[in-house]
Amino acid sequence: MAEIAAVIASTHHPFYYRASTSTGPARPPFADEWVSKIERFRETLTMAEPDVLVMVGSDHFHQLWLDNMPQFLVGKAPWFDANFYNEEREFGLPRMKLRGQEDLAAHILRDGLDRDFDLAFSNELRIDHSVTCPIITLRPQADLPIVPVYTNIFAPPLPQPRRFVALGKALREIVESWDSDKRVAIIGTGHLSLELGGPRQFGEHGPDPEFDRKAVDWIASGDLQGCLAEVTLDSLHAPGNATHGFMDFMLMMGVAGDGCKADYVDSLDLFHTMEAYFTWYPNGDPNR
C-alpha cells in the first residue's frame, strides 16, 4: 500500500513568487526573511522523498463558476496546465504545466464516493495559485505528478467545517489504501484571517492577529476538538471576509489526525496576512 511521506499545511501567498525573485529596489524588505523561512519549510518536503503529491486547494473563480459549482472536486487528468491571465497580471505568476497521477485520482474518486463523499471530478482542469503557490514554495522544480483536490471555501453556500475535517480524515485513509508502492505527500493550502475587498484589507498585519494566534495553536497541536468547538461558518466572518479559507487548514488537520502535533511549525507576520507553515510525518520524522 502507498505510504504517507508527509502531510503539509500552508498558507498560499500569491506575492511570494514576485517577492522572492525581485532584485534591487523592487525587492521588498521582508523578502530575505521570507525566502529563508520558505527554504527551511521546503526542506521538510524534500527530506520526505515523495513520489506523488495530493494538492488540496481552492479555485478562485478561475475555471469553476457559479453556474455549476462543485463543493469538493478531484482533478483526474494526465496533465494540468496552471495559472491564469489575471494571476499573471496581478501576481506575476508564471504559466506552469504539471503532470497528473490518474491512478491515484481514480482511486480517490471511487473510494471517496464509496465513503459517501459525493466528489465531483474534472478531466480538464486548469489549476490556479492555490496549488501552484505551494509548488513554487515547496517543490519549485515541479517534477512530481499531482492529484488536485479542490474545495469550495469561496462561493456560499459552503460545506460545514466538520465536512472539511471528515474529508481530510477520509483522504488520509483513502491514500493509505491505494495499491501502490509510492510515497505520497498530502499538501493543502488555505488562509488564516484574511480580508479581501472589504474595509479591513491590506492592513499592517492580518485583520485578526488573535484569531491567527489561536489558529496556529490549533493546527500545531492538532487540537481538532478545540477548533471545531469554536469555528463555524458564521464565526469565520468575524476574523475577515475571506477567512473561510481556514477550512482547508481544518481539512489538513483531519489528514494529520486528531491530537497529532505538527513536527514542524513556522509562521511569518506579513502586511495583509500571516503566513503559517506546518509539516507532519505520520511514519516518523526522516531527521531522526
Binding site: 473563480f61 463558476w65 457559479l66 489575471n86 497580471r89 496581478e90 475587498g197 472589504g198 491590506f202 466572518h237
Partner: protein, 119 residues
Amino acid sequence: MSRYLLDKFLFTVDRDPELVERYREDPAGTVEWWEAQRANVILNCVDAEKSTWLEFTDAERRALTAHDHVALFEMGAHPFLTLTLFIAMFERDHGPLEYQIAYGRAMKHLTLPYPDIAT
C-alpha cells in the same frame, strides 16, 4: 437583486484583457453592451442556447457604470471579484499598495455583518 449577474459581469470582464481595458475606458458603453449581448450567455453552452431572463436592476447598472466598488460591496457582489478587477483597472494609476489601501479606506464606515454574498 441579481448578485449572480453582478458577479457574472465582474468574472467575465476580469478574465478578458480586452474587456478589462474597455470597461476602464468606457464603463457605460461596456455595461450596456455586456447586458445586451453577454448577460444571458451560459458560459459552457453555445450562444444559441442562452438564457432569456437575466438583467440588471437600475441600481446595479448605476454602480457598475460608476465603477463604484463600495456600492457593489453593499449589494453583495463577491468582494474578491470586484477587488481583482478594480486592481487590474486602477492600480496602475497609483504607487505600490496605495490603491488597495484607499479601496479599503473608502469602506471604513461598513461594519459586520457585511452584506450577504450568497448567490
